[in-house]
């Protein structure tokens, strides 16, 4: 026999296979292998510190005191106190974890200006290029966020080409709490049509959304195997639900801001689509098609400073609204529910 074998080894392997199946049946993510910590004592010390900190927060919550305030514009509500005599973390069922369990402030925002370098995105006959406009909008948004105490991080701050994989990696490495990718739409019959739509990660039945996703994914830098792994990992992800709530918040503010100037702008809604830049990021993530460059009137407005400022302001409002809602309500519920 090549290799080695024993009954206990077989038992362990079988248990692994059954566990993998049970997780698939229950729609739970696969177990992941984590590398052994180089310094176990350090991990133990960090764990002890975390438990102590959690205990302090529980005590603070029970005494009615607010949770430690986070800096910045995001105001954070405290979670409901645990039932008498039972620590919240003991009674938690093994089912999906609610976002309310983690009343953390949103602070660091990754802003991704779509396209760049040789990848111009869409462009008008008058020479307006998507890559320039998205960078301009991203910078305006970053300035607003920084002024409000958030920590904006731009995936690119110059006219450079970046693979989608690198954009996602940047956001993950930066430890961003939210990810916003800014794009401009191009609708084939767009001379008459104009509209705003915001995407969050997930499968799509909409052929138009799928086509758009495949167009945006073409410079991904991911292999087929990578994509399979990534999609599998988000299949039952809480992040998908949070991203949907985030998309709702952004879409609602964008629509309100733009319709104040151009009432005829269509609400193309929020949609799920497998944009790789959304799939590969670790935090709630949206891709906003903030305007329609194929529409002449829209293109004219995008050439104006005040209009771009308006869009950046709407994006900021969406981020701030989502941040406020994080600890107040279940993701996906709340005042934004009326928006498609």
């Amino acid at each position: 026999m090549p290799g080695g074998s024993s009954d206990s080894l077989k038992r362990r392997l079988l248990a692994g296979a059954v566990d993998d199946n049970v997780r698939a049946i229950r729609n739970q993510p696969r177990r992941r292998l984590y590398r052994r910590a180089p310094f176990p004592w350090l991990l133990a010390a960090a764990g002890a510190a975390l438990v102590a900190a959690a205990a302090l927060v529980v005590v603070a919550l029970r005494s009615g005191a607010p949770a430690p305030a986070e800096s910045g514009a995001a105001s954070v509500a405290t979670s409901a106190p645990a039932p008498e005599g039972l620590p919240a973390f003991v009674s938690a069922p093994p089912a999906r974890v609610s976002g309310r369990v983690f009343p953390l402030a949103v602070r660091r925002i990754a802003i991704d200006p779509g396209h760049g370098g040789g990848d111009q995105g869409t462009r008008t006959s008058s020479g307006l290029r998507e890559k320039d406009l998205t960078l301009d909008l991203a910078r305006r948004l970053a300035a607003r966020l920084a002024a409000a105490g958030f920590e904006p991080r731009l995936t690119r701050d110059s006219d450079q080409r970046m693979l989608l994989a690198d954009r996602a990696r940047f956001a993950n490495d930066a430890g961003a709490d939210l990810f916003v990718s800014i794009h401009l739409n191009w609708i084939e019959d767009g001379r008459a049509n104009r509209g705003i739509e915001t995407f969050y990660l997930g499968p799509s039945d909409d052929p138009e959304a799928t086509q758009l996703a495949s167009f945006e994914n073409r410079e991904s830098g991911y292999s087929l195997a990578d994509v399979r792994r990534l999609l599998d990992s988000i299949y039952a992800d809480l992040r998908q639900e949070q991203s949907r709530a985030f998309a709702l918040a952004v879409q609602k503010r964008l629509l309100a801001a733009v319709r104040a100037v151009a009432p005829e702008v269509r609400d193309r809604g929020i949609k799920s689509a497998p944009f790789l830049v959304l799939v590969a990021t670790d935090m709630p993530a949206v891709l906003a098609e903030v305007a329609c460059l194929s529409n002449d009137e829209e293109a004219r407005l995008l050439g104006r400073d005040d209009y771009r400022d308006r869009i950046a302001g709407a994006l900021f409002d969406g981020i701030a609204a989502y941040s406020r809602s994080v600890a107040q309500a279940e993701p996906g519920s709340g005042s934004d529910k009326g928006v498609r």
């Binding site: 290799g3 080894l9 077989k10 296979a17 199946n21 992941r32 599998d232």
Partner: protein, 340 residues
């Protein structure tokens, strides 16, 4: 389960080209993964059955709406007919295994490509609902490893028609990082061989089924054991054609990706075990019978200090037998968790 209930354990290798089943009653069956439905009343009258499966379907393909429902080891997406075809193949295999005895309780383990997405596994689970009482889905190379008890410090390379699966057995149920799936496999060789024959012998008439047969008869890498002289029609007249060079070029297209993946996975093994794994590389699957493949892979290991690449004894049933071994070792508790 009552003590009186009969239980039949089955192991299934659901393959792109062939599907095999091994049962606890000692039966072994293999069918070509083709399903055909008679195209009209005349065909139905000739075939005398509503659906035709396996080699019979292939032989009578001119009268059938023929489907090969698996592509790269996965159920083709978006086609109801292909889903129905997979159901027919599995149902046919189970029927062969139970010999029509529906009172038997059937427990199945099915091997699928290593990087199959969860959504595909769930699709498979849905298809098999009602056919079997409990179902465990495992990665195909894991099933092979289990069957030959190569559970520790071993690398399995399972060369199928749609995919080639690599898996390093490290004494645990394989994680994503222990496995790779390549789409360079039997089908990709067939496609390239057909292209090369067409380029070099444009006058020769052939079908992809003929090409597949020639590859299976003459496939080799390195030095040929014999010239590949095949008979094919040229302007309707049967002629001998020498396709040796084309066969070599097509089969050798596997070497670079195989070598690269093998070395990549080896490099991820903990250093103290790399030597053991190098000495225990096992080739399985029908594609492993390409003459000289094991020797060429061994050559790739020379620079790392040498290694041994061996063939499993029964490439057609290695996956099904391994799946059966898992089914037999799983206990009542395991099966209860994975009821179909």
């Amino acid at each position: 389960m009552s003590a009186k209930e009969k239980v039949l354990s089955v192991g299934i290798d659901l393959g792109t080209s062939q599907s095999a089943i091994s049962t606890s009653a000692g039966a072994h069956h293999v069918v070509d993964s083709y399903v055909g439905w008679p195209v009209d009343m005349v065909a139905r009258k000739v075939m005398k059955k509503p659906v035709v499966i396996g080699a019979e379907a292939l032989e009578n393909r001119t009268m059938l709406d023929l489907h090969r429902p698996l592509e790269q080891g996965l159920i083709k997406e978006g086609s109801e007919k292909d889903l129905a075809a997979v159901r027919e193949i599995l149902s046919h295999l189970i029927e062969l295994a139970t010999e029509g005895n529906r009172e038997t309780r059937t427990r199945a383990v099915v091997g699928v490509p290593a990087e199959t997405m969860r959504v595909n596994k769930q699709q498979l689970r849905q298809i098999m609902r009602g056919m079997v009482d409990s179902l465990i889905i495992v990665s195909e190379p894991f099933a092979v490893a289990y069957g030959i008890e190569a559970l520790l410090h071993t690398m399995i390379i399972d060369v199928g028609a749609g995919t080639t699966d690599f898996c390093v057995m490290k004494g645990r149920y394989p994680t994503e990082e222990d496995q790779r799936t390549l789409t360079k496999a039997g089908d990709s060789v067939d496609d390239l061989l057909a292209k090369l024959i067409d380029e070099r012998h444009p006058e020769v008439q052939f079908s992809i089924h003929m090409v597949r047969g020639w590859k299976e008869q003459y496939g080799f890498v390195g030095e040929p054991a014999k010239r590949a002289l095949v008979t094919a029609p040229v302007h309707g007249k049967a002629q001998k054609v020498d396709i040796t060079d084309a066969v070599r070029a097509a089969c050798e297209s596997l070497l670079a990706p195989f070598t690269e993946t093998m070395l990549d996975l080896l490099a991820a093994v903990e250093p103290e075990y790399q030597e053991k794994v190098r000495q225990n590389v096992m080739l399985s699957g029908r594609g492993s019978r390409i003459h000289g493949l094991a020797e060429e892979l061994e050559k790739a290991l020379v620079d790392l200090g040498g290694g041994k690449v061996r063939l499993v004894d029964d490439p057609v049933f290695a996956g099904a037998n391994g799946s059966l071994a898992i089914a037999l070792d799983a206990d009542e508790d395991d099966w209860e968790k994975v009821s179909a």
